[in-house]
Symmetry: C2
């Protein structure tokens, strides 16, 4: 029997209109779809496909399971929201693969990129990522909190726009508030902060608040929220009857 | 006459299989397509659409032109490669719009996200963006070089994976070498560096080299190249007969 293939696929934000044709074709070709239940449910179904929904917490186990299916000849789609390489399943898959490469001889691995949350959020509000920017996960499950603090201080001082992934959960209730306090010590009170929840889904909510009111606003954030902190130059353009546009000019300290 | 709409659209990397259905629908609905010639040529053509190709250097003029067309009632697509909000046309459009808002009353502006180069490159090689990361443009047309150096030093010290956009051009021949020297002073000689040119296009080339050979490899880089510098934990997994996988484990300093 020929060994198969694992494709780690980014579904993009909730709306299927953001799923790339390349990712859709990979999903359609799969014999097995593996992932967190909510993502497996979002993948378009084809007759004869097997679905394997699992709890979200066991990423490396899920990766091993997908590699085992592929070793048996399957064409296995591992599904992630957003982009699979940004705080999602792709790195977990390579961690599992590297640890036991000999267990899956001949299995091929591919990654299909997707629209990650910060790009979807940026598009929805304007162009807040118009300058240099970074993406930092606030989860301290996999890195010590003091590393996160040091990284936040560095990127705040360097004036990057900051996209915070995994900002808050029941197990990590205070980290987002601490991160916003660090930002408040470095950036102006009126710096725009974006709280975007469930972008591209019917229950999408977007709030844009000044940094000095962000800690208060953070009380409504949850695991589906992406938080974006503007740089010094990030600005609002008012709109009648709608949330303002938020954008970061391309220039820093020079007038074009 | 009703004022129209400008939609800034991300075409993704060159391959049309990365164009989202949402962006494709916005392109199909446009009366006018505006952009740098190579991007306008990539947009699928529909009978009756007007095409306005321009030189790549005049982004704010192009933005004004698009807004003028929309003020006359057009449904105008402004096309960018990758994601329009990442070192592309979206910020230029909002700069133009903010400077003369009263010139375009009633014109609506939307942004359609796309697969930006760093996501496409990451997917092609594995999962190098598996940890915290940043995107920095090396172009000093719009920001002083000393700001770029300060930002590079900050993100190097903070151990972020670094995606360098606009790494080199005829007018900016030495900046990439300087950036790689800064990286060499901070990160280990064997740190993987990825040079990815024209990802998703037929002439795609990807080279993965250790940091201590990156300056030499940079000689083949051009404006279509994205350069990615790994973090301390970024690793290779060898593959027979192919470039190795590159990935960054999710953990920092803790074993899961």
């Amino acid at each position: 029997m020929t060994a198969g293939l694992v494709t780690v696929i980014g579904l993009g934000p909730g709306d299927p209109r953001y799923l790339t044709p390349s990712a859709a074709a990979a999903l359609a070709a799969a014999t097995d779809i593996v992932g967190y239940g909510a993502y497996v449910d979002r993948a378009p179904l084809r007759a004869g496909q097997r679905r394997h929904a699992s709890d979200n917490r066991v990423e490396v186990e899920r990766a091993r399971f997908a590699l085992d299916l592929a070793a048996d000849g399957g064409s296995v789609a591992v599904v992630s929201g957003g982009d699979p390489g940004v705080f999602a399943m792709a790195a977990a898959l390579f961690e599992a693969y590297e640890a036991e490469t000999a267990r899956w001889p001949g299995v091929a691995i591919k990654v299909e990129p997707g629209i990650t949350a910060m790009l979807a959020v940026a598009a929805r509000v304007g162009a807040p990522l118009g300058g240099d920017f970074c993406a930092i996960s606030l989860s301290d499950n996999l890195k010590p909190w003091d590393v996160i603090v040091a990284r936040l201080k560095a990127v705040l001082a360097a004036d990057l726009v900051i996209a915070l992934y995994n900002p808050i959960s029941k197990a990590r209730p205070w980290q987002l508030g601490e991160a916003l306090k660090l930002a408040g010590a470095e950036r102006a009170a009126e710096t725009p902060v974006i709280f975007a929840r469930a972008v591209g889904r019917p229950d999408e909510t977007i709030r844009i608040v000044p940094l000095d009111r962000a800690i208060e606003a953070a009380e409504t954030a949850d695991m589906s929220t992406l938080v974006m902190i503007g740089a010094a130059a990030t600005r609002l353009i008012a709109r009648a009857g709608e949330e303002p546009f938020v954008y970061t000019p391309r220039s820093v300290g020079v007038r074009p």
